[in-house]
Amino acid sequence: MKHKAILTVLVIGAVGLIALYMTIASGGNWDYILPRRGMKVLAMVITASTIGISTIIFQTMTNNRILTPSIMGMDSLYMLLQTALIFIVGSGSAFIMNRNLNFVVSVLLMMVFAMLLYKLLFRKEGANLFFLLLLGLIFGTFFSSISTFMQVLIDPNEFLMIQDRMFASFNNVSSDLVWVALGCIALTILWMWKDLKYLDVLALGRDQAVNLGVDYERVVRKLFLVTAVFVAISTALVGPILFLGLLVANVTYEVMKTYRHSYLMAASALIGIIAVVGGQLLVERVFSFTTTLSVIVNFIGGVYFLYLLLRERS
């Protein structure tokens, strides 16, 4: 009962913020403003909920509340792709200018990378999830280093283009992509629907999960792919938001105080929406676009991360 009440409050908060975002300073220009803002809101909802839910799933799989899916190195790969494209074919090329093409290429590349990681790892049975994370971390650092290397060499004007891609932004999301992303996510959720019940048990750790009859290797493999799809889509849609997942997931645990993933996942999506829409309102109305959402999220996320680390130690 208590959990349902909290969820209701979160729904009211999220819907309220969305309504505020849609209507604030409208100037009566509804025909123009509503569809435009509507698309942005939809993009924010997609990003926020995929990041929230995928972080919860990822942390349950790894039994760790400080890791986020970004440790798999997919967002570094995204940055590398953007940098390399601008570096090699230039900012005028179709890959950069055509957002739809860029989206498809980015998602495909990230998925191929995730599949490779997973093939490498699950080739032999009983492989260790933490080995996969370590590999992801190494690849991620490797990708970032190459990106930085290219960014140093690049023409400063072109570098501005890259910088634009380094931070998530909802300001010019294409509406086609929003629908494509929504479709992919809906399909993914359908695909994993029957396995969601295992999450509660996975949180007990591998041995208990096996003891209780979970086909551990299969379920973890599937959830790993789900996480990868979510991360790939949200990153390709708006760009990387590193700390959002960590922030949202941990606030969710704090608020919900339950082990039940049906509640945790719903709450994480709602809290994500509140954070992103609220943050975007701040960016647009308080800072009048002088800063970006990523900067705000990374700042708050960073402080929160330190707080978590300090609290764990005491």
């Binding site: 509660d200 048990v201 949180a203 007990l204 003891n211 009859g213 086909d215 082990y259």
Partner: protein, 252 residues
């Protein structure tokens, strides 16, 4: 019946379980004894499919553990490991309810709740059922985990050092509970146990391991003998008959 045949397990290059074949009799308590590092926990983990063996096979009532569906096995065999740490914040009752997962898949029915009540009652945790696990003592936590296994209601119950952290009274209670599970409910229990006197007083059969091999197996009377124990533990152990139980004296 649980039977393992020619089981081999390597950790790296080290052969931790060497060609082990055992048969566990149905409806009995079988104790697995032996010095530290003998491979007892490893063998139990293989039997319960937590780890896979490199060679050999394990059958539980004709089901091949390596091939059978996990969800089927979860209704037949349960395992409690030597060390259980829990990162989740759960109450005793929530933990015990997890034992019903193989049947309810997370949605508890009235019947599941009844099993949970009984299991909590069996382990005398009724007063503590709404307490969080991280607020319990080591022994209370151990009992909570055992209650979860009881709620799982499997025919075969494998326990790795279930007396860990228990005081004398609760250790005796625990062994009596296991005895009841076997005598009243017809379960088959396999325990890894270091306290040789508990093994002697409460079990039906004993399997002794050393250096990855089974060196002796038999009834309590076959194993609790100075000559056999000397072979297992490399020490001289006197055995006294006290109230029809064989008690090993090895403290001095």
């Amino acid at each position: 019946m649980v039977s393992a045949s020619n089981v081999v397990k390597f950790f790296g290059k080290k052969k931790v379980v060497q060609d082990v074949s055992i048969q566990v009799e149905k409806g009995k308590i079988t104790s697995l004894i032996g010095p530290n590092g003998a491979g007892k926990s490893t063998l139990l983990s293989i039997v319960s499919r937590l780890i896979t063996s490199d060679e050999g096979e394990v059958r539980i009532d004709e089901l091949d553990v390596a091939k059978c569906r996990g969800s089927e096995l979860a209704k037949k065999v349960s395992i409690l490991k030597q060390a259980n740490h829990m990162t989740l914040k759960l109450t005793v009752r929530e933990l015990v309810s997890f034992g019903r997962f193989p049947y309810s898949q997370g949605k508890l029915t009235a019947e599941d709740e009844r099993y949970v009540d009984e299991a909590i009652d069996y382990m005398q945790l009724t007063d503590l059922q709404h307490t969080y696990l991280d607020e319990l003592s080591g022994g209370q936590k151990q009992r909570a985990f055992l209650a979860m296994v009881i709620a799982q209601d499997t025919e075969y119950i494998l326990l790795d050092e279930p007396l860990n952290n228990l005081d004398m009274k609760h250790a005796v209670q625990m062994m009596k509970v296991l005895r009841r599970l076997v005598d009243e409910l017809g379960k088959t229990v396999v325990i890894v146990i270091h306290d040789i006197n508990f093994a002697s007083c409460y079990s039906d059969n004993i399997i002794a391991m050393k250096n990855g091999r089974v060196i002796r197996e038999g009834t309590v009377n076959d194993i609790i003998k100075p000559s056999v124990l000397k072979e297992i533990y490399d020490m001289d152990i006197n055995i006294e008959d006290v109230n029809e139980n064989k008690i090993c004296v090895y403290y001095a």
